[in-house]
Subunit: 428 residues, 2 copies
């Protein structure tokens, strides 16, 4: 694979580190001016599980958001999509246990009433409160838990890392652990100085849709003073290269929502897309979403391996993405990885089936950097060495099409007995 | 689902019966002038398994063929695609045990040499001999088995149903049983009389690609005197509505090939696309391929159920097909069916994710004709009754989008522990 060098593949996180960003504590509360809380409000039957989260800025601030493209979209998505378009918000209230999806007009009313209650308790406009839900589809979301829960969760709001962690825990469904991230680094100013800013957040999601449990939900925050337009651009670019590159089972949910609050509390000059700080902040946001996206893939339902699929040498970006998803979604490739099998035949067949044009005699395939196909013909491999490499928690499959310079990286997981068990033995 | 009536969905087989076609004996030898044979030639290590098939017309006749669109296509596909384009052929030689795929120039030479040997033994031009292979990818196909096998198999050629059955058995890989079909019925003539014609064939395939075993292979024959153009049109139309509507795991093979020989031995006037007999013959060919396609889906790797997905009320044919495949390929839908779960949430989410526009409040979903969603909202169902219906060998999922009149029917199977076992525990 003349064009393949693992070190030459752009590492999403490298861009952020090259701007001087590094991990820090605090999750979604790492950004100055952000509070969070997670409580048990009664959406779930089990009173020991947290099921309501609130993330709130100290005052209304810039917000950007992206939502599922699924035509079946839940009530909270319909409400939040409209409100986030204003570019400002104060808070987002989230619940697990019930997705408020396929619930018609009563579902919309429940979502609106919930935001009104949060707004009233926080002391802001209902238009500045967003909402998200995850859990069972097709069951009306009860309003009752909000009645007692909203005053309690507003009282619990706190700037601490522990509060951020509670919020991250409260949105979990079949996730096996909470998924948080936080980074800090310099935002360069026009005068050559810099201001320290933070980017943090949490995500939930372990299948693209759960066993009838809808969703990936993500709340991000930064204290960098982004304009609404810059926040939107940076979020879209980050999501495109991270959450949109994760596939557990090729299914996308009715409730996927990703919110970014930008409090501006770090100070310094306003950051628009032309500002000197924009590339650094955008890279940090992308590093945060990439980190969370990899956590989702690694926690895929029933998964034993995080799988990174790299496509190189494609004629166009579209071609690279199409081939990467064809490989990452192939049940045959995913079961082969589960079986610790460097099965290049399945990778080649997945690449070949998706309508992208290439010459099979130009194709190279590597597993974990070890060549298994060159110029469309198999090359011998050391079976024992390959089996040892499959013991690693992360498996890399790379294919070079030899057609051009475009590349794509997609994350997935293996397909296991536990996936069938989780999804086949669950009953609605 | 106002627009849904299972009886109103065009049944492929109904068209053929309405033209007077009914099942008969004989498989690929049902058509007059067709011989077949299946022997053990040594492509497989197990000498008890048949591994070479030959299907031959008594003399060169009309042929049509369709092949995989996979960019990774095997040597026999490259050879046969070129030759079948002439519209005439005498025979096709097939083997199992080795796909002759990813074998480069030596693979092409082996395929060409095999056809030359068959041609010499049969006494025809090598240009009139087609070739197909199925089995392991990436291993050179040995020529040795042809040396002893071709004279033996030519000697074994016979017009009998038993010979057709041997050929069907010789191409099996992980198929659990051979898959054959044969029909007979009247070909209407311009003078108002009719001539009895036959359509028969066999297919192999149980995953779109097997565990590194490539392929769906199909050989069809008819004694109707089709022109090359009519044979091509009828075959393309039939394949589009049958084999192209089957998905076991969304993976398509490097070796898929479908051949139709038309001997003309039934007599009667030449049949072109404008002939009075054309609609009947085309319907019979479609009935044959639909029957074989359903056999493939029912024998999908690890499957316990044949699943029929009907999409109704779509705005266009493309929309209907896209939604049908999104549902049929959804691992969540397939595991739900394995779990006997009428999980409309997964069906709705699969329909919603694929980019087709519709209003969720117009969507109806049925399982086995029982309404579970109406106007985007769940309707109560009798759980015990539904569980009883899931005992059937064939499961029907129907969704109406309420956008128009287009419909699509796709066949698949459930996703089971055995699929993961077969594909995850197989080692290259």
């Amino acid at each position: 694979m003349t064009s393949y060098d693992p070190l030459a593949i752009p590492q999403m996180d490298d861009a952020a580190s090259s701007f001087g960003f590094s991990p820090c504590e605090g999750g979604v509360c790492a950004a100055a001016g952000m509070k969070a809380a997670g409580i048990s409000a009664g959406f779930r039957k089990n009173p020991e599980r947290l099921d309501m989260a609130l993330v709130a800025a100290d005052k209304p601030c810039t917000v950007a958001a992206t939502f599922t493209q699924n035509r079946f979209c839940a009530a909270p998505v319909q409400v939040s999509r409209k409100r986030a378009a204003s570019g400002h918000a104060r808070a987002v209230v989230l619940n697990s246990g019930n997705a408020n999806a396929a619930t018609g007009e009563p579902g919309i009313k429940c979502a609106l009433d919930a935001t009104s209650l949060v707004a009233q308790t926080l002391g802001c406009s209902a238009d500045d409160v967003l909402v998200a839900s995850t859990g069972v589809i097709g069951v009306q979301l009860p309003f009752e838990p909000y009645v007692g829960g909203v005053p309690a969760i507003v009282a619990a709001l706190d700037h601490s890392a522990a509060a951020a962690h509670d919020a991250a825990c409260a949105v979990m469904t079949t996730d096996t652990h909470p998924k948080e991230v936080s980074l800090e680094g310099p935002a360069p100013q026009s005068d050559g100085t810099s201001v320290t800013v933070h980017v943090g957040g949490f995500v939930k999601g372990s299948g693209m849709i759960q066993p009838n449990m809808a969703t990936m939900l993500c709340v991000l925050s930064t204290d960098a003073p982004l304009t609404a337009k810059a926040a939107h651009s940076a979020l879209l670019a980050a999501v495109k290269q991270s959450f949109n590159k994760v596939t557990v089972d090729s299914d996308t949910s009715t409730n996927d929502s990703c919110f970014l609050f930008a409090t501006g509390e770090a100070g310094g000059e306003k950051i628009d897309e032309a500002s000197p700080a924009y590339p650094a902040i955008a890279a940090a946001i992308k590093a945060a979403t990439t980190n969370l996206a990899r956590q989702i893939a690694a926690d895929g339902e029933g998964s034993t391996k995080l799988v990174t699929v790299d496509v190189l040498g494609a004629a166009s970006q579209d071609d690279a993405d199409t081939v990467a998803f064809a490989i990452a979604n192939s049940p045959l490739v995913k079961t082969a990885i589960y079986g610790h099998d460097a099965n290049w035949g399945r990778v080649a067949a997945a690449a070949g089936k998706c309508g992208v044009e290439f010459d099979q005699s130009c194709v190279d395939i590597d597993f974990m950097g070890v060549p298994v196909l060159r110029g469309g013909l198999p090359v011998g491999m050391d079976e024992d060495d390959m089996l040892r490499r499959f013991e690693a928690p992360e498996i890399n499959v790379a294919i070079s099409l030899g057609q051009g310079d475009a590349h794509s990286r997609v994350w997935t997981c293996d397909l296991t007995h536990d996936y069938v068990k989780i999804n086949g033995e669950y009953r609605t």
